[in-house]
């Protein structure tokens, strides 16, 4: 599904440069649910951004679904993102003047689907996250948990191969966090591959595998016994 080999990335800071990722090797199979953990500055977000094609590595290989991701033009990156990836952000990143349904349907717009199809698919995914009756509401009229579920519906809309979540529960209280995690687990049960960046141990424990980063290298990579979020709610 996903294969990363000897990945390096550094950022220039003034005259010197900051070596953020120092040779990452990572392999993720279809249907896995992986938590990427680490303190701030460990490089976990950078890794996720490179996987998400929002950023490019300096060296190393990255193969996604047997497609080598290299030397992408902005246009190609956009098309791959649209086809392969679904993003879930900490701050939801919904477009505030579009209602829930329009937000969910946005990736489909960039896929070039007709309005009617977009509406149908959008409604389908909103139903999936249990927010169909909120379809006409603006993000400002939704609670944090609801916003994140709309964002998840949006990430799912284009039917991506890989879901990338950057601190998906970072802006939510514990109860809501567990609700969101329960939903993500449910998606994983249905076969979606999910990558979650987090620094919360309890969230990581709800994944099937935990990868710990420290100073740009993988410190630990182990399978864990998944804690079902449903037990906490």
């Amino acid at each position: 599904m996903l294969k990363i080999n000897k990945l390096h990335k550094s950022y220039p800071i003034g005259d010197s440069s900051l070596h953020v990722l120092k040779g990452i090797n990572l392999e993720v199979e279809t249907g896995e649910m992986v938590a990427i953990m680490g303190s701030s500055g460990s490089g976990k977000s950078t890794l996720l951004n490179i996987i998400g094609m929002l950023d490019e590595a300096d060296s190393g290989d990255y193969i996604l679904d047997e497609v080598p991701i290299k030397n992408l033009t902005e246009k190609k990156a956009a098309i791959y993102r649209n086809k392969f990836l679904g993003f879930i952000f900490q701050s939801f990143n919904l477009i505030n003047y579009k209602n829930a349904l329009e937000n969910v349907a946005l990736p489909l717009y960039y896929q070039g689907l007709k309005r009617k199809e977009r509406q149908e698919k959008g409604k389908f995914h909103l139903t999936k996250v249990g927010l169909l009756e909120w379809a006409d509401h603006l993000p400002s009229e939704l609670s944090g948990g609801q916003k994140q579920r709309v964002a998840i519906a949006r990430a799912l809309a284009a039917d991506p191969k890989l879901l990338l979540a950057d601190e998906p529960t970072g802006a939510l209280d514990t109860t809501t966090s567990y609700e969101i995690m329960e939903f993500l687990q449910q998606l994983n049960d249905e076969g979606k591959t999910i990558l979650i960046v987090t620094h919360e141990e309890d969230i990581a424990a709800m994944c099937k595998r935990v990868v710990r980063l420290r100073d740009g290298v993988i410190e630990e990579d182990k399978k864990v016994n998944q804690v079902r979020a449903g037990q906490h709610v």
């Binding site: 951004n49 998400g52 929002l54 950023d55 902005e74 246009k75 956009a78 098309i79 993102r81 649209n82 086809k83 993003f87 952000f89 990143n93 477009i95 003047y97 579009k98 946005l106 990736p107 717009y109 960039y110 896929q111 309005r115 949006r154 284009a158």
Partner: protein
């Protein structure tokens, strides 16, 4: 691209981003609106002024010069200075034959005469004229006709009077054509009444009788008062004036450098001054209008830049969701073109209203300063085309700005 333009979402996006900040959008549009309003208003007024000049000179062949004789200022060929010069019919004929580029030469005579009709009378200028006069100084006949060749050939005692004279000599609603008036106690048959016109708008209390009849009645022989020379449009009337004067000096034994012997009034020269002024004004109008327009379009570009800056994060999200840079740019350019176009259309409409107001204020009646103040559809289309072009170009700046930020940086933006 076509599908994109007819897509509801495209316009939803434009609508959303414009209504998100109404005040800013409106203020932006005011710039372009004002520019095109000025352009239309000024161009219309300039056209109105031009039309009113054309109306003033319209019945006149403007490529004309009047030449009359005075007295010599230099002795020549045994003649002393101060000799009175007299133009003759044969002079006029020679000028017509020998000067290049001449269309007509119209010899004319005038005298003041006492004119009586029934119990009404007055002193009026009586002109001896050829039918040709109608060609260079159009007479708008209200009734009857102007002098024709037959009248000339047979020295007919017929007269064409102006509307003003008709009003002075006739009772209201009295039939003038075919009635008789006495000029210097000689009966003349009225064959036509023409509309009083005239430069400066004063009354024109004049009447015209056939040139040959004038010769006979006033015993003027071969002598003419002055001649009106009209040049063909492609010839320079100033040169024609010079050539004609030289021939006349030669014919009348006058020193070639004698400046006083012939007086003249070059209508073409005067007219050129006015049309030159009008052209200048039109240039100024275009200049001012376009400059304002460009300023307005820049205001739009400026606002879009700010908007794009504010929407950096949103654009980042869109790109994370799979929007290509081209799609983002296209959207921003469409926005730019849309607001310039809407503002421009408002400008054109209100410019039209301004012209209507101007027409009501200054465009009514015979003495109107602005006649039919208007702009042609072509000008409107050119203005629109310029707007769309400028809108596209100015939209490109924020469009490139929007996609120059990497999506990852855009997403970090708060």
């Amino acid at each position: 691209m076509i599908r994109f333009l007819f897509d509801r979402d495209t316009w939803q996006e434009v609508y959303d981003s414009l209504t998100k900040n109404k005040l800013r959008s409106v203020l932006t549009m005011v710039g372009v609106w004002w520019g095109i309003l000025l352009l239309i208003g000024l161009l219309g007024s300039a056209r109105g002024l031009e039309n009113s000049f054309n109306r003033l000179f319209g019945d006149f062949a403007t490529n004309s010069v009047f030449v009359w004789s005075q007295s010599t200022s230099r002795p020549f060929k045994g003649f002393q200075e101060g000799r009175r010069v007299q133009l003759t019919l044969s002079n006029a004929e020679k000028v017509r034959e020998n000067v290049e580029g001449i269309e007509f030469v119209v010899p004319r005579n005038i005298t003041q005469s006492f004119v009586v009709h029934d119990f009404l009378s007055g002193n009026f200028g009586v002109y001896g004229d050829y039918p040709l006069l109608d060609k260079v100084q159009k007479k708008n006949m209200q009734f009857g006709r102007f002098i024709n060749q037959n009248d000339i050939d047979n020295n007919k005692k017929v007269v064409v009077i102006s509307e003003d004279i008709y009003k002075q000599l006739y009772e209201k609603d009295e039939e003038a054509v075919a009635s008789y008036i006495q000029i210097n106690s000689i009966n003349f048959k009225v064959i036509g009444v023409f509309e009083s016109e005239g430069m400066g708008g004063g009354p024109s209390a004049d009447m015209h009788i056939p040139f040959t009849t004038f010769q006979q009645v006033y015993n003027s022989g071969d002598r003419i008062g002055w001649m009106m020379i009209t040049g063909r449009p492609e010839f320079d009337i100033k040169q024609i004036e010079k050539d004609a004067k030289l021939i006349l000096k030669n014919l009348n034994s006058i020193h070639p450098d004698d400046k006083r012997a012939f007086g003249s009034f070059n209508l073409g020269k005067e007219f050129a001054k006015i049309t030159g002024f009008l052209t200048g004004m039109q240039f100024l109008t275009w200049f001012v209008g376009l400059a304002t327009l460009i300023a307005g379009v820049f205001a739009i570009g400026n606002i879009l830049l700010i908007t794009v800056k504010e929407r950096t994060k949103e654009i980042g999200v869109r790109r994370a969701l799979g929007a290509t840079p081209f799609e983002i740019k296209r959207q921003i350019v469409v926005e730019a073109v849309f607001i310039t176009l809407v503002a421009g259309l408002f400008g054109i409409i209100s410019g039209g209203w301004i012209l209507i107001l101007l027409d009501n204020a200054f465009g009514q009646g015979d003495e109107a300063t602005l006649v039919n103040a208007s702009v042609s559809i072509a000008v409107v289309f050119i203005a629109l085309l310029i707007l769309v072009t400028l809108g596209t170009l100015i939209g490109l700046i924020p469009a490139f700005k929007a996609t120059s930020v990497k999506p990852i940086d855009a997403l970090r933006e708060e």
